[in-house]
Subunit: 706 residues, 2 copies
């Protein structure tokens, strides 16, 4: 990743501002001002050939005067001057350039944008932007942007594809009390993208987690790889998830927004937490900045109000951490800390009457108990309690648990009330306890901490499977079809490719003559299915080109003639390869496996049940390929119709092991052949009961045009 260049870009020893200005309102003015106001400790070199001095600093004609003194050049000159400026930066030994100027890819000028990148590559420089606000870092006292202030200090990083949003959220850190150490504006991502920065932040001591605002990724694969390997949580808000929104995003950034469902799957595969909106992005990031992941499902809710307790319970179910009743002995102990009409079941309702002591004892006892994996503390402002006292008491009880426990049991808080509550919550956040004005938000934040631990565990348990495959054979079949001038394989060819990847497709053999048909029928075993094979006949049934349940030699001969005749009547000049003789698979649960080439993530597998499930209910799930067998099992669990595979309504469970292996092999196939295959499917796959495997009954492969 050229770490040195990124160090120069984000942690520079000297900064030049190309296009620095004395005119307030100009971006070249704002950047110099921001650097000064941020109290940057390195040298600031304003570059402006017409001015001797910029805002009290000596100005320079060109970076060439400053060879070796500059790590970062912030470029604010008009678009047509940027390329020249970058050349000079390269010659002056600049390590990174931050191009604030807009007017490149986002308005259609990809050519110039590409030239900027080439120039940077030539000199080993990294480029942030163009079309950005800049980058900001509290720990480096570096505001290399035209945002007026550094963000409220904190332990998070925020990377935004929208500059306008970044500048607004920068101000928002103060309003919301959620601090960040670093902010990055990505703009057109001509060079530096999300993955580069997430990777670079791995070694940044000031960053505990990273929040992202994503409109569309260019290289989804690398993004996933970096996030998968990251030891720091990544939280992403993906915009453009609606049909109309995707269109709006495309017009806005010029990048392809990709299918929302695929993004969701990719995030999960990479261990990325997906935020639902801006509030949620802040809420969850705050939780990750201040609290550890939650390693188990046992959430304890302590409350002084039944109402907020029930609301939090509803939220716990909604956000995937359904509450359990506390173990009997915990309940018995807790009961001592509350009035008789309190409840120790969970939520632990100490009632308004218990006061601060009740909170303290229930929190201290609850946290130290081994059953507990995490805790949400709720407070409803009352006429007789002081929120600040409650906050301090809660904090004291939490501290009592000791570092060891607090290192792996997260806590979130919600105070419902007025200004005094807001002040007390800010005090709690400042002391490391994330606090929210609505119990639903406190629960959604701790649920994200739980989700992160789950994804980490799934990642740790997962391992890539390798299968013996005959890639050469698959390629030779594909090449033969290409040589034939085709970009769609016939069913016979497609099944040969499937079989080369170990997929259990029905034996399907191509007969060119009646005699051959009889011979192959014996090979496949009666009864057989006969189907016309012609690249010119796609709808075989419509052409009278299919006969099922063919039982003996005579029938084979009879139907060989009929099908040939039908095909010729259907399309006189069709190129007919012959007739496929196919073993007849018994009926089973119909499955569809499909693949798409997602704009951001490339080969991606779709899994679902056939018929109404896919066509009416759209009950399908995606995974970026390749997919492990373990993931193949998970895909079968996450569709709504999962119970059918598990054996619903008195039927035996389906052979999910075999299905998982098939998903894994199929995903390996589309990944291996990604340069050749545009899309493919196995539809239907007949899935039988446990131990009895499956059969791919029909297969389709469409090639990429070359």
């Amino acid at each position: 990743m050229n770490k040195e260049a990124l160090n120069g870009l984000f942690r520079p020893k000297g900064v030049a501002v190309i296009g620095a200005s004395n005119k307030a309102g100009k971006i070249g003015y704002s950047v110099v001002e921001a650097l000064k106001n941020g109290k940057y400790e390195g040298d600031i070199f304003p570059i402006n050939p017409k001015e001797p001095e910029i805002q009290g600093l000596k100005a320079y004609t060109s970076v060439l005067e400053l060879k070796g003194k500059i790590d970062l050049a912030v470029v604010t000159v008009p678009a047509h001057l940027v390329l020249g400026a970058l050349e000079q930066c390269g010659e002056a030994g600049v390590k990174g350039v931050s191009v604030i100027t807009s007017g490149f890819g986002e308005v259609g000028d990809h050519e110039t944008e590409n030239k900027l990148v080439e120039t940077c590559r030539k000199y080993g420089m990294r480029l942030l932007g163009p079309n950005i606000i800049g980058s900001l870092s509290n720990s480096d006292k570096l505001n290399a942007s035209f945002a007026p202030v550094l963000p409220l200090p904190g332990n998070g990083a925020l990377i935004s594809q929208s500059g306008a949003l970044l500048i607004a959220l920068d101000a928002g850190t103060y309003l919301r009390g959620v601090g960040f150490d670093k902010l990055f504006s990505l703009g057109n991502m001509a060079d530096v993208d999300f993955a580069d920065i997430i990777e670079w932040l791995e070694d940044d001591p000031a960053t505990r987690c990273t929040a992202l605002y994503i409109e569309g990724l260019k290289d989804g694969r690398r993004f996933m790889e970096v996030c998968k390997n990251s030891k720091k949580p990544v939280i992403a808000l993906k915009s453009g998830v609606s049909a109309h929104g995707a269109a709006a995003a495309a017009s806005h950034t010029g990048s392809l927004a990709g299918a929302a469902k695929v993004y969701g799957s990719a995030f999960e595969q990479a261990g990325v937490i997906q935020a639902t909106d801006l509030d949620n992005l802040f809420d969850v990031t705050q939780a990750f900045e201040l609290q550890p992941p939650m390693e188990g499902d046992n959430l304890v809710i302590v409350t002084n109000g039944g109402g907020v307790g029930v609301l939090a319970t509803d939220s716990a179910e909604k956000f995937g951490v359904p509450l359990q009743f506390l173990p009997k002995e915990m309940q018995e102990e807790m009961k001592h800390y509350m009035p008789e009409f309190g409840s120790a079941k969970n939520p632990v309702d100490i009632t308004g009457g218990a006061g601060l002591e009740g909170y303290k004892k229930c929190i201290a006892f609850g946290l130290q108990h081994e059953w507990t994996d995490g805790m949400a503390v709720l407070y409803c402002e009352t006429a007789v309690t002081n929120p600040q006292e409650i906050a301090e008491g809660i904090y004291g009880a939490i501290e009592e648990a000791g570092e060891e426990i607090l290192a792996h049991k997260p806590i979130t808080v919600s105070f419902v009330g007025g200004e005094r509550c807001a002040t007390a919550m800010r005090w709690l956040s400042d002391h490391g306890i994330p606090a929210y004005d609505d119990p639903a938000r406190a629960i959604s934040a701790i649920a994200a901490l739980r989700q992160y631990a789950r994804l980490q565990a799934a990642k740790a348990a997962d391992s890539a499977d390798t299968f013996e495959v005959d890639r050469e054979k698959a390629l030779s079949i594909i090449n033969a079809a290409r040589a034939d001038g085709r970009d769609a394989l016939t069913e016979v060819e497609a099944k040969q490719v499937f079989k080369a990847y170990g997929l259990d497709a029905t034996t399907t053999l191509l007969a060119r003559t009646e005699d051959e048909a009889v011979e192959l029928a014996h090979q496949a075993g009666y009864p057989v299915v006969m189907k016309i094979v012609s690249p010119d006949i796609l709808h075989k049934s419509d052409a009278g080109g299919v006969k099922v349940n063919v039982k003996d030699d005579d029938m084979v001969r009879e139907w060989f003639r009929k099908i040939m005749e039908n095909a010729k009547n259907y399309k006189a000049d069709a190129n007919i390869h012959g007739i496929a003789i196919q073993e007849m698979a018994p009926l089973g649960t119909e499955i569809i496996l499909g693949s798409i080439n997602d704009a951001a993530f490339g080969p991606t597998v779709m899994f679902g049940l056939g018929g109404i499930f896919v066509e009416v209910l759209k009950d399908v799930t995606f995974r970026v390929a390749p997919v492990s067998k373990a993931q193949g099992m998970k895909m079968q669990e996450e569709i709504r119709a999962a119970k059918i595979l598990a054996g619903a309504r008195g039927e035996a469970p389906r052979d999910r092991e075999a299905m998982a292996e098939t998903i894994a092999k199929y995903s390996q196939m589309i990944w291996d052949l990604r340069d050749e295959v545009k899309e493919s499917d196995a539809n239907p796959v007949m899935l039988y009961e446990q131990g009895k495997g499956l059969k791919v009954v029909d297969a389709r492969i469409i090639l990429k045009k070359k």
Copy 2:
């Protein structure tokens, strides 16, 4: 509703505080203090036999000294003294009592609670509580509660079943900037409940809409009736919607929480907007306080930032108001008001470069255009704009549209940024424009305004259907079964009841002899189904008691003997009514109709497709009975499998008209027979293609025990 008593309770001419105290910390102290601090303009009469004066006010020994001077008595004495106090109130001519004291139904003492109600009834008094905070009204300067302050003034009312939450939200009105005129604590709802207050508020000039926090309704029917008739929007946050949450709510308020899905349906039927959490309750209430409903789907989003525009677009789809592109001529006009790289499609992105003028022109033009039904204005704080100026500019442009337009085109706003944005948003809210810190919230609020208009339109278009039914016949069948000592009808009986309500059940006749069986088979028409009829044999197939596709007289005789024999072998002492001879309905799309008696709402209809749809996918929908044909059509549209009924995968559409009529008739049946029928179902109903009707193939009715 005894309006005079409610007037006395909520708009009293004189208030007594029974149990008034000079000791700070006592509730009897807080209530007197709250009345004084609230600047109540009527007379305050502290009642305390031991003190001559309470907080500077002359104290009285008993309300009996004050006959005719008191409308409202706030009761704070210990539980065992409350009944006596109410007797005295009655004698003193008090109109309403607000019983703050707890220790009644919520701790199991329903007996005393009932006596309180009886006493009030005796004297024509209404009772709020017990176990409450009290009630508060800004316009009456009445803080008859132990909450320390009146809420931030506004145009909403808030009714809460949780007192602790009410007191916290009271303080929260100031923090959130969402004002309320009135707050009501309901507590145990021994007498006054949600419906009473919603009805009373109809005539309250200070209330524009009402927000509810509901744990569980006691009389769901009356609640629905009142909400349906209300001309003011009602917004409800229902807690206890999770399985665990329902249990927690039950332990908390002692009322039955009811099934979450039924509440959802009931709210929709009654035109009530359901809030998702506390933040959302405030957000949506603020929108209804300040803005009109949105009468069409054409939402225009105006933004200065592409990022927030895309986020808002995603939200619009999520919350049920998917964006449309603006008509060409609107786009052309809007294009004049923004830089070249802006977008007038929708979101209308004036970009950061357009400044205040762009906002003003796009808002003014957009609002006056007939295409527009509502508008969301988004602003991303930038380095070069002043949020307050933007707010004032936006407000000016909105005002320009004039009263007539603003009376039916709602507007919400979101400013994303820092403290300056927060201040500007508060200014906007104070000027009647609801503003939110996240675009998702602004969109969710305007989507609620849209949803309300949709529900109002659906209510207006709906009308109860009446069918000719033979209730007497149904009752006579039921009574005969009861006389037989049974609380389950046989299939033959159940179908007779169904037919009495005009439901098209398969002809099912009871044969007691072989000869009778043959005769009835002719009546039904071959082929027929034969089934054992015995209240002692529930699983007929297991008992060898079912034979389908019986084709002629000989087969009838043969199977009559076999089934009888099987039944006797299965259960020697079974009470066998005979054998049902049933017409064999052709296969169709399998439907399930069912009914439950919901704890809050009573007879409720469930509709869904049979088989995996109900068993695996739980794809069902509910309506509180009776249901109109129009609602029956809607039920068919709202299941996930709706497309199957519409004619998926090349099949003809199903006869949805017939299905709707059947739903309506079935719902009328369970409503008419609500005192008799505990639960029932029609499973399966075979639904045929359009014009071909349906057949109820099996029917079941379980009676209420008497």
